[in-house]
């Protein structure tokens, strides 16, 4: 396809030329599906939109022509800005609007009646759109869909939901052609499979990857601390870098770390450099102010999290700093791509390890980036909880036949091998609850009449639509200034529960003082007279990839570490001297006493999730062996268990058969499973999403989803939701695959080192957050002891 003159001329007046991959996208614009792999800054988004602009240039198309879907609301808004300007300059007759959770209700209603030519939206908003009865009218003429940053969606349930929604759109608009835009990934074919409208193919186009990025580790005079994630030591060096560059993005792995770092950066910022903070827990207005300032070029640095991961154009970023180990080489490369949007110039990035262990991981990640060794795990089949939600969404839009819906769902890559039996089970779950005890004949959600499935109670659509989405929100409370109205942001309910009036914490980079709780909002003042408690945000915790863990273990084999800073090399030497360094083909176990508890540290290097599962499995075995474990904490490389009795011989804990045999039983009863169940049951519509406005003050009226899980496990162990939970947990939070990989490489070779005190490598574990208590005999003992002590103290022990 040639560019129409009006667009070609405008390109010429701007002095722009069409990149080869942009021309390729035009040439192949009639393909049923196309995936473009291009580095950040490669003009990817324009490549996606050029065919749309060309097709709309003559002004003959009526109604919706192109759907643009991005993982972030902010990205949709940004694209709208960047697209509207040239479209206006060229005088093209094209109406562009966005539609996200932030769009007003009036605007949304109008869009359904009179849709724009180009609609920019998110997977959740699209799912909501297809749930309306009038969806066929809106989508009838759609020609193209562009899925931006598809790599960020491909490995998540949001991606699965999006592709299911697209199968609906495709059914209403058979001519729909699909385009995916992706950053560099390790396996483009996998993403293409997900995007394709099966059985039609999806072609892959590659843009020139550009020069290798210029990445290094930030060298500081100050040594990184033994533990912790704050990287406070690096503040002066980071400030120095900010001064030397125009605009710096400072990425953190978690929101809490971003808050702490921003606070410390601000304290040290004696030359008053304009620096902002941006993360998902901040209030929308505040985020938008920062975004606007960034676009205007009035900020020198922005402290951020994954909320800035994706390709929003923030102007002239010339340095990316990653604070904390990157955990995953692929994501590191994608983040680094954020620096320097000029095509064909290398991006510049610095890694700032937060502690000594992260120094090792950062060096390993640098090596992997240089070797172009990207990481990734194969995806499983499409999750059935998302499928259940999709069936309910379909029901909201009107009656349907099971055959049609099944055929439609099988066109989605992730569900292309879905069996009819599995589909029917999901449909039955949506209709009757799917229980072995058929208790709900009178209250079925879906009823079959004349071959068509209907919602029994049409009023249910409101509830179902409110529940759309696959992102799990933790229970959060808004934080606002006393007497003020605008919220500053949100904190987790669990954190709020630990606050006493007078306590201070960090939010949006400022210290605030907790005053009271009013109408489900935390009221604070700016009086900061105490050192802050740190607001804990759940944030996603990524596990260090297998590839990166293996690199670290390979580094440990070296006699010396010239690549590492002296302090870190010394630390490893000290560990080798005092204990041992972990090896890839053996499991190192260290035991020592700390805080009055017997502590045992298991180095498995299996990533955070698998180490967590290992913690659950090991504590179960320890419980059986009478070792009274009280709890554990897991990091990417080790699991630390504490209890009331010392572990004399850890080898039997790792016996393959014992771990496997215990697995099924164990799996049923643990906290991770319950958390996973809660997430899946919410997605599938069994539990209502916890909406702030729906919360009641009568707290005894609500009960924990753990009770539902326990009941199902006992009375209906084969229920669909438990199958989904097990499947989910095995590859996600439980990650048993990586435990098997660890058992396979170590084959029962366990080295047990008993130490008089904590080892250099184990020290960080003691400070790690996310401790998980074990409800076993040890806990019972502890409770009884505590109760006896409290009774004695109160003088009630003789009663």
């Amino acid at each position: 396809m040639e560019l129409p003159p009006v667009i070609a001329d405008w390109f010429a007046t701007q002095g722009w030329s069409v990149h080869p991959h942009q021309q390729a996208m035009l040439d192949r614009s009639d393909a049923p599906a196309l995936l473009l792999i291009a580095p950040t800054g490669g003009g990817k988004t324009l490549a996606g939109f050029l065919p749309t602009l060309a097709e709309l240039a003559d002004g003959t198309h009526q109604g919706l022509h192109t759907l643009y879907v991005s993982p972030l609301k902010a990205l949709a808004a940004d694209i709208k800005r960047n697209l509207t300007t040239p479209v206006a300059a060229m005088g093209l007759p094209i109406r562009i609007e966005d539609r996200t959770g932030d769009t007003s209700a009036t605007q949304k209603r109008r869009q359904r009646a009179d849709p724009p030519h180009i609609l920019l939206t998110t997977p959740e908003s699209l799912a909501l759109l297809v749930s309306y009865e009038d969806a066929p009218r809106m989508f009838a003429g759609v020609q193209r869909v562009i899925v931006d940053e598809i790599h960020a969606l491909a490995e998540s349930k949001r991606g699965d939901q999006l592709m299911l929604a697209l199968s609906r759109v495709q059914a209403m608009a058979p001519d729909l052609r699909r385009v995916g835009l992706s950053a560099t990934v390790e396996n483009p074919a996998r993403i293409a499979h997900g995007l394709a409208h099966h059985p039609y193919p999806c072609e892959i186009l590659f843009a020139d990857p550009g020069p290798d990025p210029d990445i290094a580790m930030l060298v500081t005079d100050e040594r990184p601390p033994w533990a912790g994630g704050g990287a406070k030591y690096a503040i002066p060096a980071v400030l120095e870098q900010v001064k030397q560059h125009n605009t710096t993005l400072i990425f953190h792995n978690t929101r809490a770390q971003a808050e702490i770092f921003f606070h410390n950066l601000w304290l040290a910022n004696d030359t008053d450099l304009p620096i902002g903070i941006h993360h998902g827990s901040l209030d929308r207005d505040q985020r938008q102010r920062v975004e606007a300032a960034m676009v205007a070029g009035s900020l020198r640095a922005i402290v951020c999290t994954g909320s800035l991961d994706l390709g929003i154009d923030w102007g002239d970023v010339d340095l990316v700093i990653q604070v904390g180990a990157p955990k995953n080489v692929k994501r590191l490369i994608q983040r680094i791509g954020r620096a320097n949007h000029r095509y064909n110039a290398p991006s510049k990035a610095l890694l700032v390890p937060a502690n000594r262990f992260e120094v090792v991981e950062c060096v390993a990640a640098l090596q992997a980036a240089r070797d172009h060794d990207l990481d990734g795990d194969p995806p499983g089949p499409g999750p059935r909880d998302v499928l259940c939600q999709h069936i309910l969404i379909r029901a909201c839009a009107g009656p349907f036949t099971a055959d049609d819906l099944f055929a439609e769902i099988r066109t989605v890559g992730a569900y292309s091998r879905l069996s009819r039996a599995d589909f029917d089970a999901c449909l039955d779950f949506c209709a009757t609850g799917g229980y072995a005890l058929r208790a709900y004949d009178r209250w079925k959600r879906l009823q079959l009449r004349d071959g068509l499935w209907h919602l029994r109670d049409p009023r249910a659509t409101r509830d179902l639509r409110m529940n759309i989405g696959t992102i799990q929100d933790t229970d959060t409370l808004k934080v606002r200034l006393k007497g003020g109205f605008k919220p500053l942001g949100e904190i987790e309910e669990a954190f709020a529960a630990t606050l006493t009036p007078g306590d201070t914490f960090l939010i949006g980079g400022e210290i605030v003082r907790y005053e009271s709780l009013r109408e489900m909002a935390v009221e604070v003042t700016r009086r900061a007279d105490k050192p802050p408690k740190i607001a804990t945000f759940m944030g996603t915790k990524f596990a260090t990839s297998t590839q990166l863990s293996q690199r670290v273990l390979r580094m440990f084999r070296q006699d010396d570490w010239p690549d590492l800073p002296a302090h870190t090399a010394e630390w490893l030497h000290l560990q080798r001297e005092m204990s041992k360094l972990p090896e890839a083909d053996r499991i190192l176990v260290e035991s020592f006493v700390y805080d009055g508890r017997h502590q045992t540290c298991f180095y498995g290097f299996a990533g955070r999730n698998a180490q967590q599962t290992l913690g659950l499995l090991l504590t179960k075995r320890m419980e059986e062996m009478g070792l009274d474990p009280l709890g554990f904490v897991a990091t990417d490389y080790a699991t630390l268990v504490w209890g009331l009795t010392p572990v004399a011989d850890p080898a039997p804990l790792f016996e393959d058969t014992a771990l496997h045999d215990g697995f099924a039983d164990w799996l049923a009863g643990n906290a991770v499973m319950k958390r996973t169940f809660r997430a899946s049951a919410t997605i599938a519509g069994l539990i209502q999403r916890n909406l702030p406005q729906a919360r009641t003050s009568g707290r005894q009226a609500t009960f924990s989803s753990d009770i539902l899980y326990d009941t199902l496990t006992k009375y209906d162990p084969d229920h669909l939701m438990l199958q989904v939970t097990r499947e989910e947990a095995l590859r996600g939070l439980v990650d048993f695959g990586r435990i098997e990989e660890m058992l396979d490489r170590t084959r029962g070779r366990v080295d047990h080192v008993i130490l008089p005190r904590v080892s250099p490598l184990a020290a960080p574990m003691l400070l790690e957050a996310g401790r998980i208590p074990i409800a076993g005999a040890g806990r019972e003992r502890l409770m009884e002891d505590a109760a006896t002590r409290l009774m004695t103290e109160a003088g009630l022990d003789t009663l």
């Binding site: 609850g433 959600r445 009036p501 009271s516 707290r699 005894q700 009941t711 505590a786 009774m791």
Partner: protein, 232 residues
Amino acid sequence: MNTHVFRFGEQVLTALPSGALWWGDRRLLCVSDLHLGKADRIARRTGRMLPPYETRETLARLAADIALTDPATVLCLGDSFDDLMAADSLDVTDTAMLTSLQAGRRWLWAEGNHDPGPLALGGTHVAQHDCGGLTFRHIASATPHEISGHYHPKHAIPGTGTARPCFLTDGNRLILPAYGAYTGGLRATDPVLSGLFTGRILAILTGRRAICVPLTASAPSVRAGRWPGSRR
């Protein structure tokens, strides 16, 4: 023994780890807030179909306690059914189970805020039950030596983990935990609950063992627990 025996008024009572109260001298077993049929009511009202096994689970617990104590009287202290319609729609298995539990003993349904009025099932409906100087009723009033339910108290011993349903007593008043499977809890330290007591409050936690602990002995629990309604 995994139970907790304590004096209340002139009587000696036993808190069972299940959350039931056993009065040995009168051979009376008292349970509160069974909320039978809760899943059915939720399905009826919201369309959400929760695992429909909670009635079975609750009755199984009750059966175990009855087998253990062999009571002459079973007193269900209100909110036994999530609502009257839930009582009418118990399935045959659950109804048969309930009938077999009632056989050979006196069965009293005290009225609750969820299930006022008489029931079609066996047993006697009472507004409250007075016996041996003790008063049993669903919601606490100003009566001395009174045993009630309704609030679903729960408590966590500071530093030892999550909250469990619990009995609360100050010697003059006793509040029972919710016995039903699908019930949540209200923090014992919530002023709504702790404000009902005048004396020193003891919490008796349920679980594997009934564990007795003073409610106000440790500052952290009070601070953490006061949170939801605290206004200074």
